[in-house]
Amino acid sequence: MSTALKSKGFIALALLPALILFLVFVIIPIFWSAYYGFFEWKGLGTAKFIGFGNYNEIIHDRIFWNALLNNLLLVASAIVGQIPVALLLALVLLRNSLFSKFIRSAVFMPMVLSTVVVGLIWGYIYHPQFGLANFILKEIGLGSWTRAWLSEPHINMLAITIPINWSNIGPYMVIYIAALQNIPSEIGDAAEVDGARGWRKLIYVTLPIIWSTVIVTLVLCISGSLKAFDHVIVMTNGGPAHTTELLATYMYNNTFHVYRYGYGSAVSTVIMLVSALLIAVNYAVTKRRSA
């Protein structure tokens, strides 16, 4: 394919709109926030350069560390609460029977709902006075178990993980089903002839084959946990007393409620670094495992 000059013009004109939009709205903001992170700025007036002042404040803020811990808790809850359940469901619902399809579409359904709706519904379920959770506990004689699910420290973060797991199991299940259906059935038959059945077959044959898919879902768990912002804003807004704060809500509340743009920018940069770090750790760990 020659006509080099014409091709060059086409390449430039066809690629540039996408590239420019992407650079302006995705890549450049990262550098902006790194830059503004060095300033003290209330949004009005001039910004004052304070070097690493914001970062210094961040690492000495207990609320920040608590937020980071909450984020890690969400990652852990996703890895423990979503991945195994999704894998189990995928193994059981692998066949394309009508029954399997019905269960699959039920499990997947919450995924298409807006996070705001998910947060609001579960906010009502957890409501201390009339919430469904407490009502059911009372009905079945466990009245002493009732509590203000979203207000009590230690309990509230766990309560928040449930709706998140609820809406995320479906996609992982579908991803695993696709991966499992791609394995030629001869491998499974051969494994059974060699005596690998049930759990043994799962651990020694099935899992290694779909390991690359498992890694993908682990990365998704990490990035997904950093996206839990919506649920928390709707259900608790990080409160009470910052007990359900996540890195993103910490950033949001510092920037848009108390108008500390410089500080918020610094936190944004930290979020970038944390997510890069988590993905790198995941990569290193899973790499070793598969080697």
Partner: protein, 289 residues
């Protein structure tokens, strides 16, 4: 947990750990599915209750079906406006994503040029950037150029963040289109634009469907960008209106439930019609990502 029977295992050559399901297994799975759907069912019955009914009998069917909840929520919550805004922003961003993304994907899959590796690398990085880390700088930037609180404040960043996955899906798909088709068109004297518009883009229909579904779900349900970039009542999208609705009518629970029911119905209908494509799209999207 032994869910396998020897007979069914013989019959089904295909399949992995557990082949046929026992009755008990089916029962367990059905219970799980019902549990998963219950919050939604609860939302819909609550949307038709009086507040008192809602407090007293949270899981009974409504004593009287309060259809007014829905119409009141529609009016008080200005849901019509919100739905229009969501539709407009979503459709515009999906179209922009398709045009820019597939065009860029075509260039990156067919041509060799100096900076290609760098460009690909940038888009790859884009897949991993957490959107919340860009909220503050984007807010400041849009404020500076006067883009804040406009439809563009949503359409442009939505598109920008959807481009990486769109481009990689497009590149993956283009590999299956034989180059001979383009070569033949070249001989006929068609330019690249014509080849793209007349031949390549129409051939991309399957991937266009996948991209549109992924983008639709993401844009329609987005809350973070709308929360930070939109302020005017008249520009609010559905998720944003809902979150404020629950604050504004905090004690009128059945009304809020009514508003949520309205907001959820379009997505559920689309899901019921397109669920196979949605699931497939999700798999394609995540594996590439």
């Amino acid at each position: 947990m032994e869910l396998t029977t020897a007979a069914s295992r013989k019959k089904e050559g295909r399949g992995w750990a557990w082949k046929g399901l026992s009755g008990f297994g089916k029962l367990l799975l059905t219970a799980y599915a019902v549990l998963t759907l219950y919050p939604l069912y609860w939302l819909f019955i609550s949307a038709f209750k009086t507040n008192e009914d809602f407090f007293r009998h949270p899981y009974a069917l409504p004593h009287v079906w309060m259809k007014e909840n829905i119409s009141r929520a529609w009016e008080l919550g200005k849901m019509g406006r919100a739905m229009m805004n969501s539709t407009l922003v979503t459709v515009a961003a999906v179209i922009l994503t398709l045009l820019l993304g597939i065009l860029a994907g075509y260039v990156l899959s067919r041509f060799e040029f100096k900076l290609k590796k760098l460009v690909m690398g940038l888009f790859l990085v884009g897949l991993l950037i957490p959107i919340h880390s860009t909220l503050v700088p984007l807010f400041l930037m849009m404020k500076k150029i006067g883009l804040l609180d406009t439809y563009g404040a949503l359409i442009l960043p939505y598109t920008a963040f959807e481009l990486p996955i769109t481009i990689f899906l497009a590149i993956g798909f283009m590999a299956s289109i034989p180059r001979e088709i383009e070569e033949a068109a070249m001989i006929d004297g068609s330019g690249w634009w014509r080849i793209f518009g007349r031949i390549i883009f129409p051939l991309c229909t399957p991937i266009v469907a996948t991209i549109s579904i992924l983008a639709f779900l993401r844009f329609w349900n987005d809350f973070s960008f709308a929360l930070v970039f939109i302020n005017s009542q008249s520009l609010k999208t559905l998720p944003l209106s809902l979150s404020l609705f629950s604050d504004g009518f905090g004690t009128d629970y059945s009304l809020t439930m009514g508003a949520m029911a309205i907001a959820v119905i379009p997505t559920i209908i689309i899901y019921l019609i397109l669920q196979d494509q949605i699931m497939k799209g999700m798999v394609a999207g995540s594996i590439k990502g």
